[in-house]
């Protein structure tokens, strides 16, 4: 692009940014420009490259190639401090504050220069009042809701009088009322000339708020649109993409009795950034694979924990396995009934990194009838036999006969962790992100093994963000959004557009939705 006149130059322009991680292009030839006073949406699924781009703009990553221009000048943003000096502020999705300190003290910690708590408190009061972000400087953070804590972060940015404010999924932790309040604040900021880069996958918010939307998919810009002129449908299909319609024809398996019955399952949010589950209903029958799609952080972790029994369900009948109510049973009892679980995180949840593979066999199978444990004494020989069998059956490649789990590659460890459960021939398998971060070969092997398990008459529930994967294996698909689960519908009937809309929350019941979140801001 030739030199433009100084006054017409956009506030920020990134040109042809590429960021490589090994062979993987997290961002590939991404360009974007933001004017003063513009609210610009960055839209995309998990892993589309939104975070990478933002980190480049905020200086915490350096691009492999490409240029960053600021007010018509080409610059290099060496680190976040440099970005803040330019006038870039960022509100992180998962911010960290000191619970025991007050609002003012927390903000003072993040500001450069000498400490003047009284003066700062006054400034905080003024800024927070001006922008409709009620905040009491002397309040202790421990007593505040997540929404109020986010205000601290926003006020901290505003005190530095930013020209560009980056907001990463700000409404993910907010109640709808808090979100509305935030939109007013952002509108007000934009009127004053501050630009906002707004990262989200929520289409309604983007239509409500943003002047421009750049849509990323697989690290590339697929569209640069005016959200006002798009429908939620068209945005959804741009975000999800139409290139993955390879719906594999299912063999039309016979489905049998209901194996897993979920009935009005509710669960509280797991920590301040978690999402509460609301009235989840779902049946999974023998011989079928049901997939739960959804963008990460919409309650999938809480859902998995409630099914596995790591967290007890709200009522005993909320989770039924075969004909047994298991809602209040622990994970060992559920395993003994024939259920098997594979969590999302391999290292530290599904397996202990520092333990040998045979010890990791004991982890889920010490009580499941493999005779590994007799009167409290562990028989390592049996665990080692099972470990060897799993490694052979699932092609787990390792350098030593019984290595530490952490020495395996992601794909091999995932094959082991999945194989450890499938080796039991469970009647029910609940698996969270079965192929997250594993190579294509391992992913194909795992998916095939899951399909084979269902073909043998077991019920399978997959929680996944990967729509390719879901269409490849699932018979029925439900979508989770903000802790609410849609009805499960046959995969053959669903279009990508519909799934995209559901991922953006179209099935949410908004009427009773607000009160459940509990943390309504108190001004």
């Amino acid at each position: 692009m030739p030199q433009e006149a100084q006054n017409a130059a956009p506030l920020l322009e990134v040109r042809n940014i590429t960021k490589m991680y090994g062979d993987l292009a997290a961002n590939s030839d991404v360009s974007l420009s933001i004017d003063e006073g513009e609210i610009h949406a960055l839209l995309g699924e998990n892993g589309a490259g939104k975070s990478t781009l933002v980190k480049v703009i905020y200086g915490s990553l350096q691009p492999t190639s490409g240029e960053v221009w600021w007010q018509g000048k080409k610059i290099t943003i060496a680190n976040p401090a440099a970005a803040r000096e330019l006038g870039v502020g960022m509100v992180f999705q998962h911010f960290s504050l000191f619970d025991a300190l007050t609002v003012a003290e927390n903000i003072a910690l993040a500001l450069p220069g000498k400490l003047d708590l009284a003066g700062l408190s006054e400034k905080i009061s003024r800024v927070s009042k001006d922008y409709g972000l009620p905040l009491e400087p002397t309040a202790h953070v421990a007593d505040l809701s997540v929404g109020e804590r986010q205000r601290i972060e926003i006020v901290r940015c505003l005190l530095q009088e930013p020209k560009l404010l980056i907001m990463d999924e700000p409404t993910a932790v907010l109640t709808p009322q808090e979100a509305d309040q935030l939109f007013l604040t952002l509108d007000r900021l934009a009127e004053e000339g501050c630009a906002v880069l707004y990262i989200s996958h929520r289409l309604d918010e983007i239509k409500r708020l943003c002047h421009h939307a750049t849509i990323l998919r697989h690290g590339k810009v697929v569209a640069d649109v005016d959200p006002q002129e798009e429908t939620a449908n068209s945005l959804a299909s741009l975000m999800v993409g139409a290139d993955i319609h390879t719906i594999s024809a299912k063999s039309g398996r016979e489905t049998g009795a209901v194996i897993l019955g979920i009935n009005n399952l509710n669960a509280p949010a797991d920590g301040p950034f978690g999402v509460a589950l609301k009235n989840i209903q779902l049946d999974v029958r023998a011989g079928e694979i049901v997939a739960v799609a959804g963008v990460a952080g919409n309650g999938q972790g809480e859902f998995f924990d409630a099914l596995s029994g790591e967290v007890a369900a709200n009522t005993s009948q909320a989770v039924k396995f075969l004909d047994t109510e298991v809602g209040h049973l622990g994970i060992i009892k559920r395993r003994k009934l024939g259920a098997a679980f594979v969590p999302e995180e391999r290292l530290g949840h599904g397996a202990v990194p520092e333990f040998s593979l045979s010890d990791n066999v004991i982890l889920t199978r010490h009580a499941t009838g493999d005779d590994i444990v007799a009167s409290g004494v562990v028989k390592n020989v049996i665990a080692d036999d099972i470990q060897t069998r799993i490694s052979d059956d699932f092609d787990v490649r390792k350098a030593l006969p019984d290595p530490e789990a952490r020495s395996l590659s992601g794909g091999n460890l995932q094959k082991f962790v999945v194989g450890r459960e499938l080796d039991r021939d469970p009647k029910l398998l609940v698996i969270n992100q079965p192929t997250w971060g594993v190579d294509a070969g391992a992913a194909a092997l795992i998916r095939q093994a899951i399909i084979d398990l269902a073909a043998r008459g077991s019920a399978v529930l997959i929680i996944s963000q990967d729509l390719d994967e879901i269409f490849e294996v699932a018979d029925r698909i439900a979508v989770v959004s903000r802790g609410q689960l849609s009805d499960a519908r046959p995969a053959t009937e669903l279009s990508l557009e519909e799934i995209g809309m559901m991922m953006a929350g179209s099935h949410e019941k908004n009427s009773d939705h607000d009160s459940d979140r509990g943390e309504v801001a108190s001004a």
């Binding site: 949840h349 004991i362 009580a367």
Partner: protein, 360 residues
């Protein structure tokens, strides 16, 4: 320029075994430096401190007597620390064990039967375990940090003991000395191998062997290792973090209590204001020097017992304060932790344009 610690990709198993020896070598070397700075001949001073205690039968007996409580407490703490439960208050649990066990001779002075001793030992275990239960309750119920609560309770136990021996439990025929009645007959531990080593030493070795088996071969040991290593995986395995805290605190408290009553019913023979010369704290070093392995703890206990005896002989022969043993113990712990850190991490020197930490 700045230093950072970078995690090593692979732990060296050889270095993990060598690290306690390396730590001892460094402690001896810098101990020599300190002696030299005090104007003493470092070689002679080190001989007096570390080797002289091993040259006479009397001092070897003394060594075993001092090593026994260190091992007994140390194995409990090793299991506790393996579960990443940080019981720092073994000294207080030791005191409470000593007090609980002493109730028999104090209140049933005339009771003489083998059961007397059994009852005293059992009460000692219960006393220590109950005192360990307080931090366990506070942690599991209120998420209170057990490092602080267990440590603070040490002083509660100490003052309680002090008050009892000066007040209600004072020997009426004791010329107003702050001590309880003298324990006699079945109220004291039988001795073995000569006239001073008592069966506390056997209890200590037995406890180490049992816990070595538990940790290596049983599901309980697996539970403790997994909860200490990856609690999320432990919960996935079906274990309860709270139960692990309770188990670790009750076990280490109980063993500390047993060490306490063995100390009073053994070498002391009566309750007195000062029950131990800090065995409960020194046992923390013992547990780490033994690499949290119950068998390793036996050797570490002997090593630390030498540091107590060495302090005494250094005071007699060299005229330095017996506090020197605390200096040695502190140095030893420092070097163990430093060696362990350097097994897991390597030091890297960053020069020039250091990256700033992201303010989040």
């Amino acid at each position: 320029m700045k230093l950072i610690l970078e995690k090593r990709p692979q732990r060296s198993a050889k270095m993990a075994l060598l690290s306690p020896l390396l730590a001892i070598a460094l402690t001896v070397f810098f101990g020599g430096v300190i002696f030299a700075l005090l104007g003493l001949n470092p070689l002679r001073a080190l001989y007096v401190y570390f080797l002289e205690p091993l040259t006479s039968w009397w001092s070897i007996q003394e060594l075993v007597i001092k090593a026994a409580p260190l091992v007994l407490i140390g194995v409990g703490l090793a299991v506790c620390f393996e579960a990443k439960v940080w019981n720092i208050g073994a000294e207080g649990q030791l005191t409470m064990g000593a007090l609980a066990g002493s109730m028999i001779p104090v209140f049933f002075t005339g009771w003489q039967s083998p059961l007397t001793l059994v009852a005293m030992l059992v009460l000692g275990i219960i006393g220590g375990a109950l005192f360990g239960a307080i931090p366990a309750f506070l942690k599991t119920r209120f998420n209170a940090n057990e490092i602080l609560t267990s440590l603070m309770l040490v002083y509660v136990a100490g003052y309680l003991a002090d008050w009892l021996v000066r007040g209600p439990w004072r020997d009426p025929d004791g010329f107003n000395f702050p001590k309880s009645v003298n324990f006699e007959g079945w109220q004291v531990l039988p001795t073995i191998f000569g006239d001073r080593i008592h069966i506390g030493a056997i209890l200590a070795v037995a406890a180490a062997l049992v816990l070595a088996f538990v940790m290596a071969k049983t599901l309980k040991g697996f539970e403790i290792r997994i909860m200490g290593n990856a609690p999320r995986a432990g919960m996935f395995s079906g274990f309860s973090p709270k139960k692990t805290v309770w188990f670790a605190m009750l076990l280490s408290g109980g063993l500390a209590g047993l060490a306490g009553i063995c100390e009073i019913a053994g070498p002391a023979g009566h309750l007195q204001p000062l029950i131990s010369p800090g065995y409960g704290f020194t046992a923390i070093i013992v547990a780490f020097l033994g690499r949290l392995n119950p068998i390793g703890v036996i050797f570490a206990g002997v090593m630390l017992a030498i540091s107590y005896l060495g302090g005494e002989s250094a005071q007699i022969d060299l005229g330095v304060s017996a506090r020197i043993s605390q200096v040695f113990q502190g140095m030893l712990l420092f070097f163990i932790l430093a060696c362990d850190t350097l097994i897991l991490y390597r030091i890297k020197l960053l020069s020039g344009g250091s990256r700033k930490v992201t303010g989040a």
